[in-house]
């Protein structure tokens, strides 16, 4: 009886949650349906009209996907995006985890000042830095090369990542560090054996942040890398699909799903690992 009551009392809450989830997902559903409709249909009627006869498969087409895949040269664009995204995610997180550890647990002169400058960098808009940085890149021959854009993304990502990791790492219990040093561990050993494993959940979340930011970036790639097919990532190619008056925008709906595939499958696939990382060791004390 009590169980029954608790089920019923949960119903309003569930209803609210389901409603919010539905509202949340509605635009994506619309996008998905639109991506399977022909351009003439898209122009003349809204995507919800297919709901009147959802199983009439003649009103769906794969034309948009075919067009997108051919026009953006999907293989090269995907490869370019990966070539940008993976290093531009790993490099800043690697550097930032060293830096965050140092800021949190090592004593060195100027630590305070450096950290204040770093926090200050959080508010510098990246658009402001483009011309000076591109000038330097031109001098060094880095403009239009992949290492150039890795450096750019590293620079833009570092302040926030260091800040987030610092908050997490500085919250680790100091007894752990004391006992490690008493046992004779060097700072690097402490970092490797203690800090990295303990801060996996934080590392996982900043990885997601940085990965998505670089994956979805258009401006930085366009400015530092240029838009020639040799180097252009997915975002640059996708933005060039639409005509200058916004013609063919229905291609964008399909392109959005094409570019979503990898991040989505990656995070759905790794979700269990991330959750595990957050809970690992939480009950052992």
């Amino acid at each position: 009886m009590k169980k029954l009551i608790s089920i019923f009392s949960g119903i309003p809450l569930h209803l609210v949650i389901i409603t919010i989830a539905l509202i949340w997902i509605l635009p994506s559903v619309g996008l998905l349906i639109t991506s399977f409709r022909s351009s003439a249909d898209v122009a003349t009627s809204g995507w919800w009209t297919v709901l009147q006869h959802p199983f009439n498969f003649t009103c769906y087409t794969l034309e948009n996907y075919r067009e997108v895949i051919i026009r953006i040269g999907i293989g090269k664009a995907f490869w370019n995006t990966l070539l940008i995204t993976i290093p531009a995610t790993i490099i800043p997180i690697l550097i930032a985890s060293f830096a965050a550890y140092a800021f949190a647990w090592m004593d060195f002169p100027g630590r305070r000042l450096l950290f204040v400058i770093l926090v200050g960098l959080l508010v510098v808009p990246l658009q402001m830095t483009m011309i000076p940085i591109l000038r330097v890149f031109n001098k060094l021959g880095l403009a239009g090369t992949f290492p150039g854009i890795w450096f750019a993304h590293t620079g833009y990502g570092l302040p926030l990542i260091i800040y987030l990791l610092y908050n997490f790492i500085s919250g680790l219990p100091s007894e752990l560090f004391d006992s490690c040093s008493i046992d004779g561990a060097t700072p690097f050993q402490i970092f490797k054996k203690l800090v990295i494993p303990l801060s996996l959940p934080a590392l996982a979340s900043v990885t997601i942040f940085q990965f998505l930011w670089v994956w979805n970036d258009l401006l930085v790639a366009l400015v530092y890398l240029g838009g020639t097919p040799d180097v252009a990532p997915l975002t640059v190619r996708i933005s060039a699909l639409v005509g200058s008056y916004g013609q063919d925008w229905e291609l964008l709906t399909a392109a959005a799903f094409v570019s979503m595939i990898l991040p989505l499958s990656l995070f759905l696939g790794l979700q269990r690992y991330f959750v595990k990382g957050i809970l690992a060791g939480s009950v052992k004390g």
Partner: protein
């Protein structure tokens, strides 16, 4: 795990370092343009014969963020060899800063003078330096209609503003709606409305006054500007004239608005828009035949002394780096051979007089080319030439405010206030 990570990082780093460096490969010319999608395909078709003939590779980047990308590249000292420019105002800016190559140093000016009308050459000249070449134009002063429906209802094409208003009244009396108007365009909503005002200005004042208005030589509160807005309001603010009423103008997308002409029975009969709208109509209604199912007439004159002027936009190229490859490229794109491919693909109007009219894809485009060449004057889209705070800001929102019922005085005062600020810089 740490070792694996470092290893994979190293591998990727090495790949990246040996990856192609795109800038300044020999025997190539870097070109920046505003064309994306189908237009970029057409551009590639245009340069294919050039690449085949000269062996020079054209590294083309098309982006709709052209002003931002171009300014960044120029400022950082690494401009593209050749770039399309959004408007002559931008060309003047770059020429002032000494960034552009004087094309008369290597181009055959005599051939250009016989191939191009003086209007185009003048627009491309800054202080005696010939800095920009036009390859094609879009004509904006057109009213689209459905000839079959016009014939069925016994309507004739108006040749003056009065006739157009009389025709609109007649349609209303017949229980029909004359105009299809839509200004919605996301963040750029309102630009379609500025074209209306500019077209009316060109027909009610001397071209020199139009230029003054564009350069803020006359105030927005000037009675001539007011009159242009009022004439526009005569149509747009008349609930019976506009399909869906005035408020619909704010919510209907500019690309969807002509659709009202092709429903059965038609929801509206006339639509003022540039040549490019043809591709939208054909996109939405692939079965329509240009010239038979839809056609246009020139936006009629208002004050007869100013004739039928043409308002338009044009595609303009300028050269930033003086290399032999860039020279060859510039010489190619001004040629009729190149432009015939370009206009044939896109239905744009060529700037070169020697272009064979047969190159145009259909009679409709030939007709537009004729209107453009016979126009009493040609003026560039004014909002494109104004500082963006006005031309892509308060002018856009001002037109929308006016349509939504804000009193004209207030609208113009708001635009004037932003203009005072924007032109001072």
């Amino acid at each position: 795990m740490f070792k694996k990570l470092t290893f994979s990082l190293l591998v990727v780093l090495l790949i990246g370092i040996f990856a192609v460096n795109t800038f300044a490969a020999s025997g190539s010319v870097t070109v920046l343009g505003v064309w994306t999608g189908g237009e970029a395909e057409a551009f590639k078709k245009m340069i294919a014969p050039f690449e085949a003939e000269t062996g020079i590779k054209v590294e083309f980047t098309g982006t709709r963020d052209l002003p931002a990308v171009l300014t960044t590249q120029v400022e950082s000292g690494n401009p593209p060899d050749v770039s399309a420019l959004p408007n002559p105002g931008q060309m003047v800016e770059f020429a002032k800063a000494g960034k552009l190559v004087d094309l008369s140093t290597f181009m055959d000016m005599e051939v250009l003078q016989s191939d191009y009308s003086p209007t185009w050459l003048d627009l491309g000249t800054y202080k005696g330096k010939f800095c920009g070449v036009f390859i094609s134009a879009d004509l904006k002063s057109l009213v689209w209609y459905n000839p079959k429906e016009f014939a069925a209802a016994g309507y004739t094409v108006p040749t003056t503003w009065e006739e157009m208003i009389a025709l609109s009244d007649k349609m209303v009396a017949d229980g029909k709606t004359p105009w299809a108007i839509g200004f919605e365009c996301g963040a750029a909503s309102g630009w379609a409305g500025t074209d209306w005002i500019e077209d009316i200005m060109l027909r009610t004042v001397e071209p020199e006054v139009y230029d003054l208005w564009v350069s803020h030589g006359i105030s927005w509160l000037d009675e001539r500007v007011q009159r242009a807005f009022e004439l526009f309001g005569q149509i747009a603010l008349n609930e019976k004239y506009v399909y869906g009423g005035s408020n619909a103008i704010l919510t209907i997308n500019f690309g969807d608005s002509p659709d009202a002409l092709f429903t059965t029975p038609p929801n509206a009969y006339m639509h003022r828009q540039a040549t490019f709208i043809k591709s939208f109509i054909l996109d939405h209604f692939p079965n329509l035949v240009p010239g038979e199912d839809f056609d246009f007439f020139p936006f009629p004159p208002i004050d007869p002394e100013y004739g039928i002027p043409a308002l338009g936009a044009a595609d303009l190229f300028a050269m930033f780096n003086d290399t032999p490859e860039a020279r060859a490229f510039m010489e190619y794109i001004v040629s009729p051979e190149a432009q015939e491919i370009w206009v044939g693909e896109l239905g744009k109007l060529s700037a070169n007089k020697r272009v064979n009219p047969a190159a145009y894809p259909d009679d409709l485009t030939r007709k537009a080319a004729k209107i453009l060449s016979e126009a009493s004057t040609f003026r560039f889209d004014g909002s494109d030439l104004m500082p963006s705070a006005v031309g892509a800001g308060s002018f856009w929102t001002g037109v929308l405010d006016y349509v939504s019922g804000v009193p004209l005085k207030n609208v113009l005062m708001t635009i004037e206030a932003s203009a005072l600020d924007a032109y001072r810089k």
